[in-house]
Assembly symmetry: C2
Homo-oligomer: 323 residues x 2
């Protein structure tokens, strides 16, 4: 009897099914497809591998599980040991599938903030056709800081360089050789000295013990008057009350959040009334972009070959570290 | 008595005034500043040179005028012979000052269209937090056509290349060696064969006899189902009724117009009700971006040196051709 791979992906189509079946057959596996996590619970006992958007419940119930590959890049919901019946269960993510779509989101929202597009949307909505007093700003000459220099931060920096910013400084957990898209890379311990030199702070961090609350009230106060903040990592990274205060007082010129606490954001949440705040409903990396789905499936198939051959997995997550 | 330069710029500040005075003094000129065109009419008899946002009335009344340098890139209102008392009067524009700001506008609106940002603005406005069915699209792999490969089209192409499109084809009046940002450059006679291979049509043309109505109903029909149209040149280039039909029928997935006919666009104009149309009130190149103003003043000062030394002007417009 072939070993089993359970697949739960909401973007499944014939072409992905064929691709997954072929990759599995080559490695001696059989694929079982489930339309949803609800349908999978209780039916994954024989699955050695799970791939897709599996709920915690599905993962917890999979008693033969040796490897879970998630479609997401963020794995904060899948790092605790009690989730896995097999303590050595491997976890991989789809980091690398999101750089393209999230970097496009980032460039879009940065330009919308700098060019006051939210206000211009209102001008048009009100039947007007006027130029707002006070001017707009540009990526040209801007001092950009990217907090988190993984796939997403790096792909953003590569695109942002084409707009001729003054600099793009990366800030990461540990300084190591990085992409030439960054002017310089700083260790997170230097964050407080980088913030006062930042016009545009772009945050693309995983949620870990170290990143929760990293943009505190004190750190927000270190940004210069008129700076902008953009977050596509996890909502937990930002002190939201302090952000609202900084926006409403005019200290910050604007912010864009694709991730917030809680999600979904209630209709009456104070964030929705903050000044110059561009909210999007956690869609920067949603898997409706074909490229993202293609890449996630391809990365899983590649790692399946690695797994079957006993080689290290390319997208392995360190569960203790959280990414 | 020093020869006179009349300056009418609405972004005047101390620093620009100093820069202009110094450049003028070096060339034996004296600068006279007017707060507006209305204030200048009747008071520019002695001006050999005019620089800025001068109205047609001011230009027409300037009987000693030998050179008018406009702050705009588009000069369609300043090309007719009867405007100039001196038939050999030189006209220069500020083409070259707008590439930075208009290319940022172009990237922003392209991404807003592809990522359905207008619909997501509505989701948030309605207190929601949901992902729209049907997916989004990407600059990655897109087939882009740029109609008009001057400063604006070229600066856009340079930035767009960093997003890894499938191709960026330029279309221009005459094929000549161009920036490597373009995959290929086609003559305007080939436009009809390029349109069916275009996912995203970006128009940055001056208004001339040849460009009025260039995106006709017939040409709109040549674009593939689900294509996008963006225009930052002149509103006259597009058959607006045909565009509305193509949008409302769903043939086109979206469009973004920063220029329309007429401007200002009346509050009840049918364009305002067209489906998936992103309107901005002719602000892609507005001079509220410091970089644009800096560059325009610098280009005028440089050409003033050329003029005083009897050298050709760098930004000379061919009034017959219209740009």
């Amino acid at each position: 009897m072939a070993k089993k791979i359970g697949v739960i992906i909401d973007f499944l189509n014939d072409s992905y099914e064929r691709q997954l079946n072929e990759a599995a057959a080559k490695c001696g596996y059989e694929v079982v497809y489930f339309p949803s996590s609800a349908a999978a619970v209780g039916n994954v006992d024989e699955c050695e591998i799970l791939y897709g958007h599996c709920s915690r419940k599905v993962v917890k119930s999979a008693k033969s599980l040796k490897w879970y590959c998630t479609c997401w890049a963020g794995v904060d919901h899948f790092c605790d040991d009690e989730l896995y019946q097999n303590p050595d269960c491997l976890l991989t993510n789809s980091s690398g599938a999101y750089g393209t779509t999230i970097s496009e989101h980032l460039i879009m929202v940065c330009l919308m903030l700098l060019r006051r597009q939210m206000e211009y949307t209102e001008v048009i909505r009100n039947g007007g056709w006027e130029t707002l007093p006070g001017g707009i700003r540009s990526l040209h000459g801007a001092r950009i800081t990217v907090l988190g220099t993984g796939d997403i931060g790096t792909e953003f920096a590569r695109r942002a360089q084409s707009f001729h910013p003054a600099c793009i400084n990366g800030v990461r957990r540990t300084v190591k050789p990085s992409d030439p898209a960054f002017t310089a890379i700083h260790a997170i311990a230097e964050l407080d000295s980088v913030l006062p030199e930042t016009d545009l702070l772009v945050m693309a961090l995983p949620s870990t013990a170290e990143t929760v609350g990293i943009l505190s009230r004190e750190r927000l106060a270190l940004l210069p008057q008129g700076a902008y903040v953009v977050n596509v990592g996890r909502g937990t990274a930002v002190d939201q009350e302090a952000l609202i205060d900084a926006l409403d007082s005019g200290r910050l010129a604007g912010a864009a959040l694709d991730v917030v606490v809680p999600e979904p954001l209630p209709a009456d949440h104070p964030l929705r009334r903050a000044k110059n705040l561009l909210l999007t409903p956690h869609v920067a990396g949603n898997m409706t972009l074909g490229y993202t789905c293609d890449k996630s499936v391809q990365m899983f198939c590649d790692d399946l070959e690695n797994y079957a051959a006993g080689r290290p997995l390319a997208h392995l997550v360190n569960r203790k570290r959280g990414y």
